[in-house]
């Protein structure tokens, strides 16, 4: 499905939240590296996708009404065999039905488990006065507890992207702390710039989260993605 098609379909279905599969497809088309996720409606499809992507894989529930997927038992990680994928598919669907009996279930998304990297989050929120604002931070506790994040208004320049990364207290972690390999700052810079361009092109996007992005020595990839559209104006 094309870029415009994904948004149109969500709109037609009265949805403002895109699924992870849809969000990642949109972002991938904009040149942003994502861990590809595809929708499996049946368990056999899930096994076929797992084989195509290569093990281990992660499975997640896809339902427009279930946003906190892990809270309802809708996520299973590190699945290494076809048997595990089959069992996980059934368990996820059953758990989702138990937790939200009325929620329509589109299926289960399948994606390859990403190699662990330095966890980064990138997001966008709408400020009442300044419009779309891009956010960058390190993942996990650093962003949640210490609010160690940097902001810039969209659009950003390459220099803004570089300064954003250096603005956070945790920047030394990206440079390679205690013998850890450094993160690919150029890849992160490119990701920020492409995301800024994507937001500029899509005025209908009001909220966007890439959480986490894994930064590696030679690349960076968005492992999870969430996109929220503006509610249609009457």
């Amino acid at each position: 499905m094309t870029n415009a098609g994904i948004i149109d379909r969500a709109r037609q279905q009265g949805r403002t939240v895109l699924s992870e599969v849809e969000a990642k497809q949109l972002l991938a088309e904009a040149g942003i590296a994502v861990v590809e996720a595809r929708l499996a409606k049946e368990r056999d499809e899930a096994v076929a996708l797992a084989k195509e992507f290569g093990y281990p894989v992660a499975l997640k529930i896809v339902s427009p009404q279930i946003t906190h997927k892990s809270d309802v038992g809708g996520v299973q990680l590190n699945l290494g065999t076809a048997e595990e994928v089959t069992a996980a598919f059934d368990a996820i669907v059953a758990a989702a039905k138990r937790a939200a009996p009325d929620a329509p279930i589109e299926g289960v998304s399948v994606q390859r488990m990403a190699e662990p990297g330095i966890e980064v989050i990138v997001g966008m929120t709408m400020d009442a006065q300044f419009g779309p604002v891009l956010m960058f931070g390190l993942g996990g506790v650093l962003v949640e507890v210490l609010k160690d994040v940097a902001f810039r208004v969209v659009p950003i320049t390459a220099r803004d992207a570089r300064q954003m990364m250096r603005d956070i207290q945790g920047f030394p972690i990206l440079q390679g702390y205690r013998g850890q390999e450094p993160a690919d700052l150029e890849a992160l810079e490119a990701l920020l710039l492409k995301l800024s361009a994507f937001i500029e092109e899509h005025a209908e996007v009001t909220e966007l989260d890439l959480n986490p992005v894994f930064a590696y020595p030679n690349s960076a990839v968005a492992v999870d993605a969430r996109i929220v559209l503006a509610a249609p104006t009457a």
């Binding site: 400020d127 006065q129 300044f130 419009g131 940097a150 902001f151 208004v153 803004d160 300064q163």
Partner: protein, 477 residues
């Protein structure tokens, strides 16, 4: 607004000023403020009880703007709020360059009546293409032309700082406090509720104003964030812009609502906007003046290596901490410098690795030739990009009090260094047991065009931001 910038150019350098509605009960606040105006001053007052008092001040009074037989470049209006719409319409009919509405009781009251009145005067002004400053503001200060916001403000010499202030108090105080430290104003505007003209309009004007070298802003909020950002970015390319934001805490933001009715912006977003636009952040009136000193009194420099000079061991330690904490560096000097220093530096009770603990070497001012030599060595040292010196106001205050000429000769020496050297140069005079002497000494340092600060921390924080600005202008970082 069409032709806004040419209208502002007319109003901000007025040849004629009209004060509308000044009263005895207010102590003729506005007529007294304008008593220094170098152009033609008129009063408009219809109340027969008020007219004799106004005429006693020597100001010609007219019952209406229309009857003044002259064009009016700038008008200040302090009529009751319910009459304000009529007076604004009069200003529009007269073709006044711009009008500042001192009257308050508009959107900042949080009541429907005030908000509606503000919307009404806004509509009248916009439809007529009349630049309206305020309401709820103190208008313009142009010291060169003697147009003032308060009868306390100095006039005569114009300075290089253009100020945009969302608070009248801060605008007046900046004119006073700044001038006391050698920081003078070109044009200052108290913008109040910013119903028609907002920060970006004034910013565009000051960015293009040849009399303004540096722009300072006190802001509580802006109506159109995008427009502010674009205008701030344009201005920052032309000259340094320092932004002091009020209401950065939740409780402070609540106070904003009843002060100027501006909308709050999350602080992290605001700071990011200022940085992204290439402007400089300040956190208080003192901090604002400090940063302006570093921008105006120091030569522009992009290097972070500090050469530090203090009188004693304890001060050498803490001056170093202060500059490093501010994000600057205190490098070792070159071998050539150490060789020169070794030839005369007094290491009994002193040291010269950087910082220079130099009290003994310069005889606490008694051996100025050594001080001169130290400054020269640091100036020539390629590891040193900027120099800071402690003037030991604690020890020296008594001597400066008894013998003012001793301070003069020290300042001659420092001023000569500043003129010779291309490196940013800051001085620190701490308050102490004789704070009056120290503060007078600080003012005298400022009069020489030297940057004088009241603590190492303040000097370091201000210099750091000036260096960051020049680095950014050079495309570094």
């Amino acid at each position: 607004m069409p032709d806004l910038q040419s209208k502002l150019a007319r109003a901000f350098r007025p040849r004629t000023v009209a004060v509308i509605g000044d009263k005895r009960a207010m102590g003729y606040l506005w007529l007294r403020s304008m008593s220094t105006f170098t152009g033609k001053l008129y009063s408009v007052q219809i109340d027969p009880d008020e007219i004799p008092g106004i005429e006693e001040l020597g100001v010609p009074n007219f019952p209406s703007l229309a009857e003044i037989p002259d064009e009016i470049d700038y008008a200040v209006c302090s009529v009751p709020r319910t009459i304000a719409p009529r007076i604004i319409a009069d200003c529009a009919a007269k073709g006044v360059g711009a009008v500042a509405l001192f009257t308050s009781g508009f959107a900042e009251t949080g009541e429907a009546e005030g908000a509606e009145l503000q919307a009404e005067i806004g509509r009248i002004a916009r439809e007529a293409g009349l630049p309206l400053i305020g309401p709820n503001c103190m208008g313009l200060y142009n010291p060169r032309l003697g147009v003032r916001q308060s009868a306390e403000q100095p006039t005569g010499e114009a300075g290089p700082v253009g100020l945009i202030s969302q608070s009248g108090t801060h605008a007046i105080n900046f004119g006073l406090n700044g001038a006391a430290q050698g920081i003078r104003v070109s044009t200052s505007i108290s913008i109040g509720n910013a119903e028609v003209l907002d920060i970006p309009d004034y910013l565009d004007y000051l960015a293009a104003d040849p009399e303004t070298q540096v722009i300072a802003i006190y802001a509580e909020g802006v109506k159109d964030g995008r427009r502010f950002f674009e205008s701030l970015r344009r201005a920052s390319k032309a000259k340094p812009v320092v932004v002091w934001k009020g209401g950065v805490t939740e409780a402070g933001a609540r106070a904003i609502a009843s002060h100027t009715a501006a909308l709050a912006t999350p602080n992290a977003v605001w700071n990011a906007v200022v940085k992204q636009a290439g402007a400089i952040t300040a956190e208080s009136m003192d901090d604002l003046i400090d940063v302006l000193k570093a921008l105006l009194f120091c030569k522009p420099g992009t290097g972070r290596g500090m050469g530090l000079m203090a009188m004693t061991g304890g001060q050498s330690v803490v001056i170093t901490d202060a500059f490093v904490r501010a994000g600057l560096e205190v490098p070792l000097l070159t071998a050539a410098s150490y060789e020169k220093l070794a030839s005369f530096f007094n290491i009994i009770g002193g040291s010269y690795r950087n910082p220079l603990d130099m009290g003994g070497t310069i005889g606490f001012g008694g051996q100025p030739q050594h001080l001169e030599r130290l400054l020269q060595i640091l100036d020539e040292d390629e590891h040193v990009d900027a120099i800071a010196i402690e003037l030991a106001s604690g020890f020296m205050a008594r001597r400066w009090q008894a013998d003012p000429a001793s301070l003069d000769s020290l300042l001659d020496l420092l001023q000569a260094h500043r003129e010779r050297s291309a490196k940013p140069f800051v001085t620190v005079l701490h308050p102490g047991h004789l704070e009056d002497v120290a503060s007078q000494a600080r003012a005298r340092v400022g009069e020489r065009g030297l940057a004088a600060f009241a603590s190492f921390e303040r000097a370091a924080a201000a210099l750091r931001r000036a260096i960051d600005y020049w680095r950014q202008q050079e495309g570094l970082d």
